[in-house]
């Protein structure tokens, strides 16, 4: 039964454009993009115990790389996507060397500082990034000749990439490497005494998180056909960290649920309530008070209590 669940969820998600209008399909696409982004950060936060406040850097770098190589050299989408994924992964490999000089609060502050530097670059390096105006005039790719400009077409594209990313992340988490990663989160000293290379495990995870953030960055830039320094900002980094924590870090479903909550509050509820950030704050306050380890673990516990089965 539990093996069928992802398949059933995928089929249900695939049916959405048949019953919902373009507005809601676009909203769902944004949720998918945010979900991939949050899943990538969850590798660090949930499974590695490394809270980053600069993860937007990797989504933003991928978006900028893709846009810039398209505008500057007129490269095709396959080439810009490859450059964006490779370039962002290399960037994560480089910055990971710096960030992992520390863990805990030190790690948080270094990731924050590095992302702020990149955000500042995006703002000030006008000749490359076009500064506050951002890079516009971008297009969506047309894989196998399929035009992705329609809401449903793009949604299926995002769903396919999202499903593949989620499956890859699930595989990593379930593997021996994933078990070792969780071990380094819980007892780093014991893990090195058992012969595990704690630093290297964390570093490889950091690079993998950068790679999957780059996937979300590509989806992001295709969706908006535009990239602004905001993609690299602290707000974006904090938002994705909130998604992970609100949904439930260290679970596969948590970041997806967290992404849905934040995107819906931000894009849907804000149409009715002007001060939607108030509401966002209130929702997080409630989550922290009543389900401190996130919505998914919280509801699992509730479910277990009412069905009488252990969690």
């Amino acid at each position: 039964m539990s093996r069928l669940r992802p398949g059933i969820a995928l089929v249900a998600l695939a049916l959405l454009p048949l019953v919902a209008g373009d507005y809601y399909v676009n909203l769902a696409s944004q949720i998918l993009i945010a979900a991939v982004f949050a899943l990538s950060l969850n590798l660090l936060v949930g499974y590695g115990g490394l809270s980053s406040l600069g993860h937007a850097a990797y989504m933003g770098i991928a978006a900028y790389l893709s846009g810039w190589f398209f505008l500057k050299f007129g490269l095709g989408h396959l080439a810009t996507a490859a450059i964006a994924l490779l370039g962002t992964t290399l960037m994560a490999a480089l910055l990971g060397l710096i960030a992992l000089r520390a863990t805990g609060l030190g790690f948080l502050m270094i990731t924050l500082a590095m992302a702020q530097v990149l955000w500042g670059l995006a703002f000030r390096w006008v000749s490359v990034t076009n500064g506050d105006n951002g890079l516009s005039g971008l297009t969506r790719p047309a894989p196998f000749g399929v035009d992705l400009n329609g809401a449903a077409a793009f949604y299926y594209f995002a769903l396919a990439l999202g499903a593949v990313s989620a499956a890859a992340i699930a595989m990593l988490v379930d593997s021996p490497f994933g078990a070792v990663l969780r071990g380094t989160r819980d007892q780093p000293r014991r893990m090195s005494a058992l012969g595990h290379d704690v630093w290297l495990v964390r570093y490889l995870t950091y690079v993998a998180a950068g790679f999957f953030a780059a996937v979300s960055g590509l989806l992001y830039v295709y969706y908006h056909k535009f990239v602004h320094p905001h993609a690299l900002s602290l707000t974006t980094s904090a938002e994705v960290l909130l998604m992970v924590i609100a949904g439930g870090s260290g679970t596969l479903l948590g970041p997806v649920v967290g992404a849905a909550v934040v995107v819906l509050l931000k894009n849907y509820v804000s149409a009715f309530v002007e001060r939607w950030t108030f509401l966002l704050g209130f929702v997080f306050l409630m989550i922290v008070l009543f389900m401190p380890d996130g919505l998914v673990p919280g509801f699992r516990r509730l479910w277990a209590r009412f069905s009488g089965k252990p969690a």
Binding site: M171, D174, P176, G178, Q187, V198
Partner: protein, 246 residues
């Protein structure tokens, strides 16, 4: 025969206060060595220096004929050093079997694999169960570690160390906090450790420790005060003075 462990002039100070002060000692292969000393004598610090958790300020550590002072902890583990902790350091949210599996992965190249789920590694699971069987915990293999008794956790600590087939086993107070019955179980377990494993043990329970150990080293303020066979050390007046206290 070569010594399993050879320490020369080892020194470690914390903020000017020497915790280990010029310690030299040699442990033969297959020997059972007991390290005793009052609280703060530097016993656990000595273990942390041997495993690489701490770096020495001075001196050399030679394991099985190889200088390891500059090696990371994980590399020393792969040379055959395993340890248990005075304060239980396990994975409370995971099952007993998973705890032992993490230990088996530490010396297996499978730890880098991301392509197959851990559940598919049948040999690892069977090995983990076999190790738990050795310490009489096979029936609790699928229980969460947090849900078993303190004595069982102590045995998991030892099982995780033995799972790696170490050549040198460092036991840091394996009997601490155990009831009389639990002590007997763990003592029997220690007595059954194969003779090709060299064992260095820190222990305060003198009765249990004295039956186990062949040679004893007495540490005091980071220095070796007395070293010798069981009888020699017990009979030595300095032992009575600093440790037995009567």
């Amino acid at each position: 025969m070569n010594a399993a462990l050879e320490i020369r002039g080892l020194g470690k100070a914390f903020g000017g206060l020497p915790a280990i002060d010029g310690v030299s000692l040699s442990v033969a292969q297959g020997e059972r060595r007991l390290i005793i000393g009052p609280n703060g004598a530097g016993k656990t610090t000595l273990f942390n220096l041997l495993t690489g958790d701490l770096r020495a300020d001075a001196g050399s550590i030679v394991l099985f004929g190889r200088e390891v002072g500059a090696l990371r902890t994980a590399l020393r583990t792969r040379l055959g050093v395993a340890r248990t902790y005075q304060i239980i350091t396990l994975f409370p949210g995971d099952t007993l079997a998973h705890n032992v599996t993490l230990s088996l992965l530490g010396i297996s190249p499978a730890r880098w694999s991301v392509l197959r789920p851990l559940a598919a590694y049948r040999n690892l699971h069977e090995q983990a169960r076999a190790v738990l069987q050795k310490v009489d915990l096979a029936h609790l293999a699928d229980r969460k570690l947090a849900s078993v008794s303190y004595g069982d956790k102590r045995r998991v600590e030892i099982a995780m160390a033995l799972a790696q087939n170490p050549r040198l086993l460092l036991l840091d107070e394996p009997l601490a906090g155990l009831s009389r019955e639990e002590r007997q179980t763990v003592q029997a377990l220690l007595a059954a450790i194969p003779r090709d494993i060299t064992v260095v043990m820190i222990e305060h329970d003198m009765d249990a420790a004295l039956t186990f150990a062949e040679r004893i080293t007495l540490l005091h303020y980071g220095k070796v005060i007395v070293e010798g066979s069981r009888n020699e050390v017990v009979a030595d007046p300095r032992t009575r003075e600093v440790y037995l206290g009567s």
